[in-house]
Symmetry: C2
Subunit: 188 residues, 2 copies
DNA sequence: TCGATTCGGTTGATGTGTCATCCACCCTGC
DNA sequence: GCAGGGTGGATGACACATCAACCGAATCGA
């Protein structure tokens, strides 16, 4: 599972300044490799994928481990059909189960199972360790701050104005500040 | 076509400093959205995908528009089965064709067709424009430089030592400096 | 209260990436 | 010249993402 952008030649870079071109090529290669590496690592030393992990994280973030399907899609910025398919596969493996919603006959909940909880608890530590050694151990405090600012600027551009044309985003909450309450870390 | 990492909760971030946590979350969301946006844009205003684009770029970068299959995989950092499948699909759509290699009975070339050349020439300008407006118009010169340095550091970490365990990379060329000769931009 | 919309969610088709396996050909040692 | 292993590449099975179409429940306007 992968989606990579790739090395760019004159076709693209003619419209970028040389310095921008080098930055873009470096970024593109880095994020491709990093995604690939994290995915591979995750599926090697645990039985779940990055996508499973993302779903499980959201479920464990709620008090009772149950979230409505489309709420899940909104939290993850996924399309509803994607979440539906994915939950179906996870259900087949016992990581989650679906329950009907009493108050709304159309709706259903995705509920974390014990198997799912165990899976994420086993996967999380090594994933965090990998992120730290691959990324943050390489960067100075200044660079970490720069990474955040750059990411926020681009993300803001992506989610404002005519760019924000994707389905699941129309009613999304405050884009940058969705830190869980119990994470013990400040919200700002 | 997508591969996204997603919002992280305490599970992951417990092992990261608060400042690192914020940077990581911001980065993860940004690159997910950016990938999605670029892919969507590419497939909307041209008939090719980002992956097609990457292949076509490599082909147009050579003098005669023909590259050996595994050489292509090495240039793109793709697995050989991925390039094989992808070339097969592109061949079906007429973007490339395969030719036998005379000097090595096992090998084959991937050759750019006129259709393929037209496709990339139509796709490139708007893609470059999008990258510029979404990314570089948001960043100062200092930030562009920071982005490049951060990306290079992480990429270097990813491709050295025990991380570089992937098939297609074992004999890869100098990781960061594969700028095409005719791009008109300095190699360093 | 009844029809039209909207909303929550599923389904199936299609394109894509990965893994394991396989085959044909090359090369080297003998 | 031929047996062994290595290499270039293809294939099939599976997981995954997207799109369009669909369905039934909710809701809203008349």
């Amino acid at each position: 599972m992968m989606c990579q952008l790739f090395p760019y030649a004159e076709h693209v870079t003619r419209w970028l300044e040389p310095e921008q071109q080098r930055a873009w090529r470096a970024y593109v290669r880095m994020q491709g490799e990093l995604n690939a590496h994290l995915s591979r690592q995750m599926s090697v030393d645990s039985e779940i994928s990055m996508a499973d992990f993302a779903v499980l994280v959201q479920l464990t973030d709620t008090v009772d481990g149950r979230v409505r399907v489309l709420e899940l899609a909104r939290l993850l910025h996924w399309e509803k059909s994607r979440i539906s398919h994915h939950v179906a596969r996870m259900e087949k493996r016992g990581l989650v189960r679906r329950e009907n919603c009493g108050s709304d006959g159309r709706g259903s909940f995705v509920v974390l199972t014990d198997v799912g909880r165990t899976a994420i608890e086993e996967a999380a530590p090594s994933h965090a360790e990998i992120v730290r050694t691959l990324v943050f151990d390489q960067l100075s405090d200044t660079e970490v701050e720069a990474l955040r600012e750059i990411s926020e600027k681009v993300f803001t551009r992506l989610t404002t104005g005519e760019c924000a044309s994707v389905i699941a985003r129309c009613d999304a909450d405050d884009p940058m500040e969705v830190v869980s309450e119990e994470s013990g870390c400040p919200e700002a």
